[in-house]
Structure formats: structure tokens, C-alpha cells
Point group: C2
């Protein structure tokens, strides 16, 4: 299949944008990207989907989310973190049922597919449900199982039970073409050294990635200094748990020594501007992280603290917050925000075939319709994608060459079933 | 005509939300709002538009914009303010033609109509073009003519010529059912006391409102202190130009004495979160302004420094920035953000019939479609409108009882002409 469009934003090393371009897909991979006239001439008679005045971009990577929390979207806002967790989140989480977890994950995946997100890194509990929903949705992703030191927890009555379930999930989903797993200890303040080391060992044992919330607030840093005698990143490094397979969510309160460790260990930072603003946590130092050689991906965080999983508006916010927080209007430019959502997103899910549209890469992309008045004129298609688009301009989402959404139709998920599930979740979360 | 919907967010004094509600329109005004069953029973046989799973809200007011600047959307970003003005904006503005100004204004109005904005406060030059485009679009608004102290300027070769044109526009548009004018001196740093007093006198003479950029950056304050011996607000107050008809755009760098003057004079502050973040100017102290009794409306600023005129995403940003800037996650809650975009917006355009849906108020409203996965579940419709919506969920925009947009169709503007104009503007702005 050949897709043609007014603009193809490749996100290759040179950040080439092909005007009047074509993208050729063979199976699950991109086989050619170039001027439409040339690609079409090389492959006469091949099926063509003409997108016209649209921009094809690499699929966006939501590198930190908690997809089942879509069930609680809007159930409680405008509260301090711990009041929100204790009064609103934990009481509901105690009532989860697997069927509802899967319905909530489906709802989130339907939103991602709608808004041009093709890959995600999730972190939640009882993740066999998210694996199943992601497989059904056709998305790419890393499914992280959350671990805290307190038992019983939703994921298991004992650590043996929880780790046994993780081993079972690892065995069940090993070799999946798009889905990987992660062991995801929640944070330094909900774990202890033994839990963190055990999580690291389990990840190595089952061949999963490793991810955790890190340095989200100044309070986290102060508490860690008081309790563990070190800031969160040096503390974790002293346990030997930070590696090249590790993604760290938030990284708001990081100092230069923290940056040096992240770079040395090959970790990826994941910035969550909406969540950090909504909870008044602060702003990750994006330019300092990038300047230190640390990839900085972008995530929505859970839809109960955002309240969306729309990576297009997250790119906009990352650019705006980067400027405000640094006092520099040239910081986190549109190209950097797009890099965070694509190339650095690929780093966060540790998938070298994601993040750009080049021969041999995953055929994962979306297409922004540029015919709405809010997307005109097109002086700079990357600027319009980052600063003007909302996400709902998307008219096509493709993963591994398979169309998941096209012009108002969901092609993998049954949208009627998704919305029926949302109504059931509304009752559940009351 | 009766409109029914799952939710009607009235924005009345009690902030009532009517579930399964109906809104009845008689001519240009709302005549009834209440439970659908009751309203329909009182008016059998009246035409009904059933919106189903949607939320009707009062039309949003974009209380500060520069609509012709849509021509430059994305032409230059990620630059410091003065480099951007001198290198990108001013050279293009020297090339304006009336026909293109009108095309750019139409493009902006098409975007506003699409995203649920029903009223605006504009500030630009040669504003007979914006008057004409706004009349054509069917929107409500205040059309402000920008004045600086330097001549010749785009609006006139001399002050007499410029003021003569303002008098002509005032005469031409006097008594319009939806459009008012404003004399809008640009800012303290581009005017002098004589220009400001003359603008005030002209506004009083022609019966127009008065608006200006105010206290946008700390540099503006420092320069005003150095040049005029006072901060911008006390300086303007000493000239006697601040009144109950006055809207002040930005109000980022305001101290307690400034707040007291704004309250005393009955001025309205207009917050522009995206523009202030993009230019790294800072954040208006929204809660402090509101606490001092100063209405705080919300604006997009021009589409070249935003880069959209989408008041839905601006509400989201106002809430997030309010929390981040104050360090308090309970600040600028969803209801406050909606108030800013509706009730305080009505204050900014000085129209007591705008801003809420109650009998006798303007029939100005829009309808968010809640059937997309990103708008589900509906635990709190105000939260979903502020935190989850993007603007493109809007499926109906009505001003003065007239439908301007419905389900993909623009009903006042010719969208084909608008998009052809955008292509011409692309060439013009290269």
C-alpha cells in the first residue's frame, strides 16, 4: 500500500519533510519514503490511499500512562496529590474487577488511536487485562506491572503471588509482535531497597524492561534524603537497578549529579507536563536533560490526572512549559517537542524501529488533516502539528501497516462496545 | 426552536447544570432553560433539535486576539518577542492589503466558530476589514483599533487621518446588533501621555470601549518606571484613562497596588496563558486578581503567538498554569476556568447579556459532543469540558439564535472561500 499526502514528516536524522510525498508500506514496515511522483512511478498498479492536504507523521508515543484510570476521568480534580489518592483513587481501586480494567484500557486505547498515538508505556496493576486490550487494539507498547512494598496489594496477596503473576504474564506474552512487559516499582517512597532489588532481578529473569516514577516532586527528594540518605536517583543507582532498559517517569526535581547518573546508566527520562502542572509539581528541566545527553520522552500520565491521553496537546504543552520554566522563548522548540513524542518516545519503549518513518522502520504513523481553518495556512507543518493541532485533526492511525482508525471509524476496536463499557465505568466509579 | 441535550451547563449564578435539559430560543434570546420533559410539554409542536449525548454551554468569549494574524500562523515561532516582531511580524504587516486582512479575519472567525467561541475582543489595524468579516461570520464582538504614537502607521499617515477613520468606522457600525468598537492604544511603551489621553477622549466621543495591552512583562514595568516614573497601571491611572469600560490584556506583572486600582476603576483583566508561556513572559496572578474583585477573562492572543484561537484548550491551559504558577493544585479549578471563558468574558466585552444561559440572555452557545472516547465517562461535565476536551468536539455554534456551525458545516461563512483565502495568505506571508 502507498499513502500519499501533501507533507510527510519523516523525523529521520536530518528531520526531512517531503512535500507531495508518498510512504510505501510492505507488510509491517516502511519500505520507501519520497516524492509521490517517484514512488508511484516505481510501483504502477499498487493500491494508493491519497490523503491530499494532510501531514503524515510518525505515530506518537505516550511514554507514561496508567490506562485503566480513564475510568476516573473527571471524577475528582483540583485536589492535592495525597488527598486525591486517598479520598478518590484508592477507594475506587479497591473495587476493580478484571472485566472493568479491560473496559477502561479499551477506552484509553480508543482515545489514543483517535489522536495519533501508536505506542504507549503503561504502568498499572493486574496487567494481563491491559495486555489483552492492547493486543485487541492493535497498538504497540510496554505493559508495566506496578509493584509496591505493601501486601496484600491489588496485584497479589504476597510478593510471591505478585511475582508469580508477572512470570505468568511474561510467559503468556513472550514473542508478541508489538507488546513487551516491564517490571515497574511504583516509586522510591512506596518501596524499599529489598523490593527494588527484587524487581530488578525479576525484570532480568523474565526479560522485561524496567521503569518507575522518579523525582516527581521536591517532597519526594526531601523524604528520600531523610529516609535513605540520598536523593532518589543516587539512591536507586546505589542499588544497581538503573540500566539501559530503564525509563524514569517525571524527573522534575533533578540536579546535575542526577543528570550525570542518568546519562552514565543510559536511562530515559519521561516528561509529563500536564500532570506536573495539574498537581503543581513543577517542570522537568527538558533542555538540561537533553543537553546532558539524556533522551526525554513525553507522556500524558494517567487520564485521571491530565485528563486526556492526547499526545498532540501534550507536545504543545511541553513546548509552552519548556519556555515558561526556563524563561527562554527559544527553549523546547516545535521540532524538539515532536522529537520528544517520536524519536525519544522510541527510546523510552526501547524499540529502535519506532519513532521515524524510514525504510525498515515500523509502519506506525498518523495523518493530520490540514483542511480545518485552525490548521491554515501551512507555513511550517511541524509548527502547525505542535502549536495549532488538537489531536482530533487526525484521520488515520496505522500500526505495523494495519489501519486502526480511518475517517471516523475505529477498525480494530469495536467503538460501540468501548462506549458501552464507558457507561458501565461511570456507574462503577460513582 | 428547542435544543435538547444530556447536559446544559447554564453558568447562572448558582452554576446550575441541567441533566437531560432543554434550551428554548425565541428570536435572538434564550427564553427557557430546564428539564427537557417540562420544556417540551409546555411547547408541543415546536421544532426540536435533539443533541443527545452532548453538553450545551454558553458560547466562549475570546477576550483578546488579533484575528488578522492568522495569516502568520507558524511562519515564525520559538523566538524572543522583539526578534519575532522586528524580523517576522513588522515586515509582513507593511505589506497588508485590505482584501487580505479580511481573508485572514475570516479564517480566524471560521476557527472560532468551529471551536465554540461566540464572541471576541479584537485589536488590530484597519479594522473596517475585521468589522466586515465579523458581520459576515455572525459573531459577537468588540473590534478594537490599535493606536501607537509613531506616524505614519498602518492605520493612518497622521493622527488626524487615523482618528478620522475611527470616527468613520464608529458611524458606519453604530447600532449593529452584535458588534461594538474600541479605541485600543497598543501599550504604555508604544504610546505617550498625549496619545493615551487622546485615545481616551476619542473613545468617549464616539461611544466606543477602551482596551490596551498592560503589564505583560517585567521589562515593560521596569521601562515604564524608568521612563514615566510609575508602574504601568498607576501611570495610566494618573492620566485618567482607566474606567469601567476598560479591558486590560495580559496583567502578568501586577502588584497589590495595581490590583487595588483595577478594582477601584472597574477594569477587567484578560489572561492569555498560551501566549504568555510561549513568549516566556510569566503568568498572570489569576487567583489574586479574582480575590481582589477584578474579573479575569481569557484570551488566545493572536494566532501567530499561540498558535490557535481555540478557547477550549485555553481554558485547560489557564487551569494548569494557575496551579503551577501558584504551587497550589486547588487553584484555578475547572469551574473557575469556565467562568473566565464565559461570565468574565462577558465582562471583558462589557455585554451583560452574554456569558450565561438564562431567560433573557443572548442565545449564544455551543455543544460539545461527548460520544468520543476522550470525553468518556462523564463524571463531571465541566471537568470534561475544561480538562479533556480539545475544542473540535464542538458540533453546534449559535449566536443570537442563529446557527453558525453544525456538524461539519459552516452556515454563515463560505468555508471554501475561507480556505482559498488561506492559500493566498500562505503565498503573501512567505
Amino acid at each position: 500500500m502507498i499513502y500519499t499526502a501533501g507533507w510527510i514528516v519523516t523525523q529521520d536524522a536530518a528531520r526531512s519533510v517531503v512535500e507531495n510525498g508518498a510512504l510505501r508500506v510492505e507488510g509491517a514496515l516502511v519500505s520507501e519514503v519520497g516524492p509521490a511522483a517517484e514512488v508511484l512511478a516505481r510501483h504502477p498498479g499498487e493500491p494508493v490511499r491519497e490523503l491530499g492536504e494532510a501531514a503524515i507523521l510518525p505515530g506518537l508515543v505516550d511514554a507514561h500512562t496508567h490506562v485503566p484510570m480513564s475510568a476516573m476521568r473527571g471524577a475528582a480534580d483540583d485536589k492535592a496529590l495525597f488527598a486525591w489518592l486517598n479520598e478518590d483513587v484508592f477507594p475506587r481501586e479497591a473495587r476493580w474487577e478484571p472485566r472493568l480494567l479491560r473496559a477502561a484500557a479499551r477506552l484509553s486505547f480508543a482515545e489514543m488511536v483517535r489522536t495519533g498515538c501508536t505506542a504507549f508505556y503503561d504502568m498499572y496493576m493486574l496487567q494481563e487485562n491491559v495486555f489483552a486490550a492492547a493486543d485487541e487494539a492493535g497498538l504497540r507498547g510496554v505493559v508495566g506491572e506496578n509493584v509496591v512494598r505493601f501486601f496484600p496489594q491489588l496485584g497479589g496477596a504476597t510478593r510471591d503471588a505478585l511475582f508469580g503473576r508477572i512470570r505468568d504474564n511474561a510467559a503468556a506474552w513472550r514473542g508478541h509482535p508489538r507488546l513487551r512487559g516491564a517490571v515497574a516499582p511504583h516509586a522510591v517512597y512506596t518501596t524499599d531497597p529489598d523490593t527494588l532489588r527484587a524487581c530488578r532481578d525479576l525484570a532480568d529473569e523474565v526479560g522485561w524492561q524496567f521503569g518507575m516514577h522518579m523525582s516527581e516532586t521536591r517532597k519526594e527528594t526531601a523524604d528520600c534524603l531523610a529516609e535513605r540518605g540520598a536523593r532518589p536517583i543516587p539512591y536507586c543507582d546505589s542499588l544497581g537497578i538503573l540500566r539501559g532498559d530503564t525509563s524514569l517517569f517525571h524527573c522534575v526535581d533533578v540536579d546535575d549529579a542526577d543528570l550525570a547518573i542518568l546519562r552514565e546508566r543510559g536511562c530515559v527520562a519521561v516528561h509529563n507536563p500536564a500532570s506536573n502542572m495539574k498537581l503543581a509539581s513543577g517542570a522537568a528541566p527538558v533542555e538540561r536533560l537533553l543537553g546532558a545527553g539524556v533522551p526525554v520522552a513525553l507522556g500524558t500520565d494517567g487520564p485521571a490526572s491530565n485528563n486526556a491521553q492526547d499526545m498532540v496537546r501534550e507536545m504543545w504543552l511541553a513546548a509552552l512549559l519548556g519556555k515558561l520554566a526556563s524563561g527562554d522563548p527559544t527553549a523546547v522548540c516545535a521540532q524538539t517537542a515532536l522529537d520528544m513524542a517520536t524519536r525519544h518516545g522510541a527510546s523510552a519503549i526501547h524499540d529502535p524501529l519506532a519513532g521515524s518513518l524510514e525504510p525498515g522502520k515500523h509502519a506506525d504513523f498518523f495523518a493530520l488533516d490540514l483542511r480545518g481553518p485552525g490548521m491554515q495556512p501551512v507555513h511550517n507543518v511541524v509548527s502547525n502539528a505542535v502549536y495549532a493541532a488538537t489531536g482530533l485533526e487526525n484521520r488515520l492511525t496505522v500500526v505495523d501497516g494495519r489501519e486502526l482508525y480511518r475517517d471516523g471509524e475505529w477498525l480494530s476496536l469495536d467503538i460501540g462496545e468501548v462506549l458501552a463499557g464507558a457507561r458501565e465505568l461511570r456507574e462503577w466509579a460513582r
